[in-house]
Symmetry: C2
Subunit: 445 residues, 2 copies
Amino acid sequence: MSKILVLGAGLSSSDLIKYLLDHSKILGWTIRVGDISLEIARQKINNHPNAEAIQFDINNNQQLHEEVAWANAVISMLPAFMHPVVAQECVKQGKHMLTASYVSDTMKSLHEEARQKGIALLNELGVDPGIDHMSAMRIIDEIREKGGKLIGFISNTGGLIAPESDNNPWNYKFTWNPRNVVLAGQGVAQFLENGQYKYTPYHRLFSDVRKYKILNLGEFEMYPNRDSLKYREIYRIEDIKTIIRGTLRRSGYSKAWNVFVQLGMTDDTYKMANSEKLTKREFLNSFLPYHPTDSVEQKLKRIIPDTQDEGVFNKLKWLGLFENEPIGLPNASPAQLLQRIMEPKLALEPNDKDMIVMQHIFDYELAGNKHRKTSTMIIIGKDTVHTAMSITVGTPLAIATKMLLTGQIKERGVIVPTKPNLYNPILNELENYGVKFIEEEVILK
Amino acid sequence: MSKILVLGAGLSSSDLIKYLLDHSKILGWTIRVGDISLEIARQKINNHPNAEAIQFDINNNQQLHEEVAWANAVISMLPAFMHPVVAQECVKQGKHMLTASYVSDTMKSLHEEARQKGIALLNELGVDPGIDHMSAMRIIDEIREKGGKLIGFISNTGGLIAPESDNNPWNYKFTWNPRNVVLAGQGVAQFLENGQYKYTPYHRLFSDVRKYKILNLGEFEMYPNRDSLKYREIYRIEDIKTIIRGTLRRSGYSKAWNVFVQLGMTDDTYKMANSEKLTKREFLNSFLPYHPTDSVEQKLKRIIPDTQDEGVFNKLKWLGLFENEPIGLPNASPAQLLQRIMEPKLALEPNDKDMIVMQHIFDYELAGNKHRKTSTMIIIGKDTVHTAMSITVGTPLAIATKMLLTGQIKERGVIVPTKPNLYNPILNELENYGVKFIEEEVILK
């Protein structure tokens, strides 16, 4: 009898919890699901005999202590910044923990203590990070094993709207945390291209996108993520010539998004004066120069020439940016106000399906030839509960939990799934859930 | 007999120390000048009988304690981030302290304790902040007293090179801390214009400059400083319609500087890979897209169209940016590398003179008329020791020290010179040192 504690029962937890419930009888599991909303936790377990829903508050130390004491393994689906609190309690009590998030510095610092106590802290077991690592490492290791030399690796992922639900001019909807979408790309993008280190500042990121045609889905555009360079070490490909990890959007998105970036509307570092009184039009005008007679539209087209493009202008107009309608958000940053404007427009509708697209492009040399191998995953959500995001974030985490509790994972301490003993069984089982990669390979030149 | 401790004997301290020495006999002062370099401290006191030079290290707590114990008043000319350490020691020992820097949060927090101990912490007594406050407040108070209503206030200052020493294509040299020049403007510029709040992000700051003709000096351009809004409270002009504080440069500077900003070369938040090996040309190329055949020049002109302007291109070329000459700075940020490239090119030469330009523009209503009053200060340095910077930073601080030690300042706690009892005597005496404002006034329309 293993006891599994799941903390956080939001949208991304649906398929994780479903997998755990479905395997609970045969594996003898008891599952306790905690969420700040008891109602949401209840919905997720749906009266399953092996599960229990509880109201859980991460700020209640006593409750955290007791729940961790009860469990054999703890899966944290809480916002990433809350993981360290859970991890410290797990290590203290000698309990395994699993997350779909990046290894934080706090997490890393717990490695030795966790190892000594014989527990595993498994991380980066979602889709990105998660499936991206596993699927890339499998091919990187394959190329290495057959004697190939990897010279280039480009890996792009996007959380998008499925073609059948794609009915707005942005060709985008919020399929995950809107705040992260608004702040995406801030900082400098660092990557390596044909042996040259390249640095793209945030304010040039969206004007410097690359185009990709992906399978039968048409054209996408990619902007590089913040730090691609560190993956040389993580993937053990230190001598690679090109490494870029990027985010995918539908073509046309970036040129319009860049208007917000250029104007400074995605800034989250300060609060705007009188933000509670601002209308959408006044919000926009706050970033345009004062002019005694010119309209907001005239000034915008002069200051940001890209808005003379009808496609760009219509995307902004569709959001209602030129309307004198109050936003109604007190003490807010530009980014918060922009999010508030976009959220109702770009929200998923009841019958919408989301889509996750991931594509790796490997360039390698073997026996005098240059090969390009492309590996592509397209996942379309089943509905608004079993979204592509929920399937791809929750299922690998659930599979890893099963492996851990059935003794298939022997390592202890902080672990990420970049080795075959983890990625092979997880990727193999993921195929049963529709998570497959389509591979293509050509010889270049 | 008063004992004055001056900490920091760098370039900006020359005229401060000269004033103190010149007044030491008649006022019975003993002056001790401490610097990390004993040699520099010695040069500044030049064997004066009432002065003593010491080697001073701010990290030596024992020494700080002893030197503060010796003094009646401490003037900190150290880098601003070191002031809090000195201030805390002064408050602990009940000694007056003076700086030319902005009131920091730490400084502010010492107000009550300083008041209770009967000591003054005088700040913002340099040129900017300092003379800007005093000269602006004098006119703001004058307008208020004669029944006028201030509706607009624009205040611009630049530390520049004197026309007779202006012999490079940037029309600029480093007359103060080059690091601050490279990082200038980062963040968002917030100001109020004709009743509208306006926000300009850093990456648009230098493409949105305003032009000013100033007296007989020709044309300047201005970019707004980070936070103009807070001066409404400081200057007691809460209901003003326009308030902008800006930095002045010679015309043409900003368009070229903007190339660095657009490329991300002024970023100080990360270190560049292999920075010790980079040549100037490679440094530039790091911010340009990879291309198999195009030259750095071709890519630059494509990515930043402003560089197709010969004036802009020549400014970059003059700095040597296209040369394959190593920069030689290990583990450096883009901003640090850019500074290293610019420093030898934009350094003051032995016979150069610097110049400080400050201009306030006041718009006010009086008896049904709209008035515009302009008040302009132009200071040209005497030589590379008695620079305009040293005269304008050090002299007001020295005058305030005299006032404090002769009982003319009764307030205690944290003080800035925005009230007549401080600004009038300081501004009046500054005229003896050539620090004068030229006023012009017109009725608008």
